[in-house]
Subunit: 346 residues, 2 copies
C-alpha cells in the first residue's frame, strides 16, 4: 500500500508467520489477497472491523460455533466448509433464513498458506451455495505449538418470520419424529481419515446445508415443532435433549434408523455406537402426525435423503422426559453422551 | 439430568477434560453450571445452538474478534472482559448501539476450572456494564499442547440508526482528528505481565468500553465522520488506514499525543514505538472543525479521558492517502505496522 515509502515483508510467504496476526500490512495483505477474493462481495459498505447490513425486519436468529476438527481436510469436506455449513444449519434449526456470517481465524505459525487458501475458497463456495454472505472477520496468529494449524469460529445472523415457533417446548404428545437420512457418517469419516484406517468402503462425511430442507418443509406448510441437527453427541443425545426440553417421552423404533453397512462395520471395529456419532447434514424434526407423509416426501427428495424415515413418536411424560430406543424384545433408555466419544470431530 | 439412569463423570472437576467438549452431559454441566450463571439472562427463548432475538429495525452492525492474549489475566483486565469490550467497541466504531454478543470458547485440556470461572464472571460483568447480552455460545476442547489455555471468539450484533454514516470514505479535508486519551498502555501492560518486567510504575491496560463515549458524542450532535479504536497496530496504523481509506492526508502534531512517562520509559527499554502499541480503550474521531470543541469536552469528561486532545488535521490528497507525524524540525511519514510488533496482545 505504501511500499514505496517503507518496504514490507514479501506477500508470497508460503507459511503463516506471527506477523500475519499483527494488525499491520502483512495481515492486510492476507485479508485482501487471500480471504476477500475467496469470500466474494462482502457488503454494501467497505468493512473494517464490522459490517453494517440491511436488516430484514422481524426477529433475528444469532448463533456461533468454534471448529477445531482434525484433520483440516477430510473425505467429503474440510474445516472451512464445515464452519460455514455448521453455522448455517444452526440458523436453519431456529427456523431462520440465514443471511450473514462472520469468521474468526486462529492460525498457528507455520500453517501452509496454500492450505489456508484452499480452505478459504471452500468457505466461499459453501457460503455461496447456502445463500449467505461472509461479511466480517478477524485473524489472529499464535506461536507454533499453541494451536493445531487452524481453528475457525463462525457466527451467523438470520431472520425469523413472525409465525415461527420452533423448539422442544413446542413439541406435543402425538407428534412424530422424522430423521432426514442415515446416521454416523461424519464422525466415522473423520476418525478414518485421522487414524489412517483403511475400511473397505470409503466413508464420506454427510456434511450438507440443511437450510433448503427446512425452507421446503416450511413452504409446504409442515408445522415444525422442533428441529435439531445431529452434530456432536449424535442422534441419541439430540433425542434426549428434545425429550428433556419437552418434558415428554420419545420412543424410537430402532429398526427405522438407517446406519450404512460401512458405518456399522467401522463402529464395530472402533467400539462406537453409531447413534452417538456426529453428523453434519442430518436433522430430526418433530411434526404433527397429520403432516408426516408430506414432510417425509420432502425429506426423501433432498440430496442424500433417500433413507429419511419416520423413526418414532412422542408420548406423554414419564418422569422428567426420556428417550427410549425400542426394538423387538424390549426398550433401552437413551442417555446423553457423557463425555467425548470422538474428540475434535467438528 | 439423568444421573439416576447412567452415572456421568463428576461435575466438580478442577480442570478441563476432553469430555467437556463432547456435546454431552459434561459439556451441558459446564454450560449450565459455569457459563450461564456468569452470563445472566440469555434471551427470551431457551437457547440451544442459536438465539432468537427481537430486532430493533433499521440496519444491523455485525462484527467478530478472536482473542488469544497471553497471559489470560493481566493488570487492568483479563481475556474475558477484553473479548466483550473489544467486540462492543467494534460495534461502537460502526456507530451502532451494541445489543447481543456470542462467545465461542476453545479450551485446552487441563485448563483450571477456577480460572475459567473467573474469566466467565468477568465477561458477564463487562457485558452488563456495556448494556449488551451474551445470548449464544459454543465450547470446544482441544488436547493439551494444541492450544494455550483458552481462546475466545466473540461476535456482536448492534443496531445502526438511519442517519449514521461513519467510515474513512466520509472524512473530508478540513476535518480535525481527536484522540480520546494517552496511548500505548494496553500493549505495555501485557508485555510487562508476560515478561515479568518490574517497571517502577505499574502500568495497567487502558481497556474500556467506548460505546458510552460514542453515544455521548452522537447525542451532542457531533458529526462523526470516522471512528477507529486503536487496537493492534496502534495509533499510527489506524491513522494510515483512515488516510488511505479517505484518499486524503492526515497531519498529526506529535506534541499533542500523550504518552505517559511510564509507557514511554517501558517503550525505550523494549525498543518499541508507543504509537504502534495496542490500546483497548482509545479511539480517534474525525469530525468537522466546527464540532471539535464540543467533542473534545465530551472526550475529556469520560473516565480516563483527561488527556484527550485534538492531535491533527485532515488535508487534501497527497498521492494515495498518507499520514504524517509532524514535529518541530520536520515531518515523518507514518506507515502501517508491517508485521507483529507484540504478538498475542489481544
Amino acid at each position: 500500500m505504501s511500499g514505496a515509502v517503507c518496504p514490507v515483508p514479501a506477500t508470497d510467504a508460503e507459511r503463516i508467520e506471527l506477523g500475519h496476526g499483527g494488525g499491520g500490512a502483512l495481515m492486510h495483505r492476507l485479508i485482501e489477497g487471500l480471504f476477500r477474493p475467496a469470500f466474494g462481495e462482502t457488503g454494501p459498505e467497505p468493512a473494517h472491523d464490522g459490517a453494517v447490513l440491511p436488516a430484514a425486519g422481524g426477529r433475528l436468529a444469532f448463533t456461533t460455533d468454534s471448529f477445531v476438527v482434525t484433520p483440516l481436510e477430510f473425505p467429503g469436506g474440510d474445516i472451512g466448509a464445515l464452519a460455514v455449513i455448521g453455522t448455517v444449519n444452526d440458523l436453519a434449526m431456529c427456523g431462520a433464513q440465514p443471511l450473514y456470517l462472520s469468521a474468526g481465524f486462529i492460525l498457528e505459525e507455520g500453517l501452509e498458506i496454500a492450505l489456508l487458501r484452499r480452505i478459504a475458497a471452500s468457505m466461499g463456495q459453501a457460503a455461496a451455495a447456502a445463500g449467505v454472505r461472509l461479511v466480517t472477520g478477524d485473524t489472529k496468529v499464535v506461536e507454533r505449538g499453541k494451536g493445531d494449524g487452524l481453528y475457525i469460529t463462525t457466527a451467523g445472523v438470520g431472520s425469523v418470520g413472525p409465525g415461527t415457533a420452533i423448539g422442544p417446548q413446542f413439541v406435543r404428545a402425538g407428534d412424530v419424529v422424522l430423521l432426514s437420512g442415515d446416521v454416523g457418517r461424519h464422525g466415522i469419516a473423520i476418525m478414518a481419515a485421522r487414524e489412517g484406517l483403511g475400511f473397505k468402503t470409503a466413508i464420506e462425511s454427510d456434511m450438507a446445508c440443511l437450510a433448503p430442507t427446512v425452507r421446503a418443509l416450511a413452504e409446504a406448510g409442515v408445522a415444525l415443532h422442533c428441529l435439531r441437527d445431529l452434530t456432536r453427541g449424535g442422534l441419541a443425545t439430540s433425542l434426549v435433549e428434545i425429550a428433556t426440553g419437552a418434558g415428554l417421552t420419545i420412543r424410537i423404533d430402532e429398526a427405522a434408523v438407517t446406519v450404512s453397512d460401512a458405518v456399522r462395520g467401522a463402529c464395530e471395529v472402533l467400539g462406537l455406537d453409531p447413534w452417538y456419532v456426529a453428523n453434519e447434514g442430518r436433522l430430526v424434526a418433530c411434526v404433527p402426525e397429520a403432516d408426516a407423509d408430506r414432510a417425509l416426501a420432502i425429506l426423501r427428495a433432498q440430496p442424500g435423503g433417500a433413507a429419511a424415515a419416520m423413526i418414532g413418536r412422542v408420548g406423554p411424560a414419564a418422569g422428567h422426559g426420556q428417550a427410549l430406543a425400542e426394538a423387538i424384545g424390549g426398550a433401552r433408555v437413551l442417555d446423553m453422551l457423557s463425555g467425548e466419544q470422538l474428540p475434535r470431530i467438528c
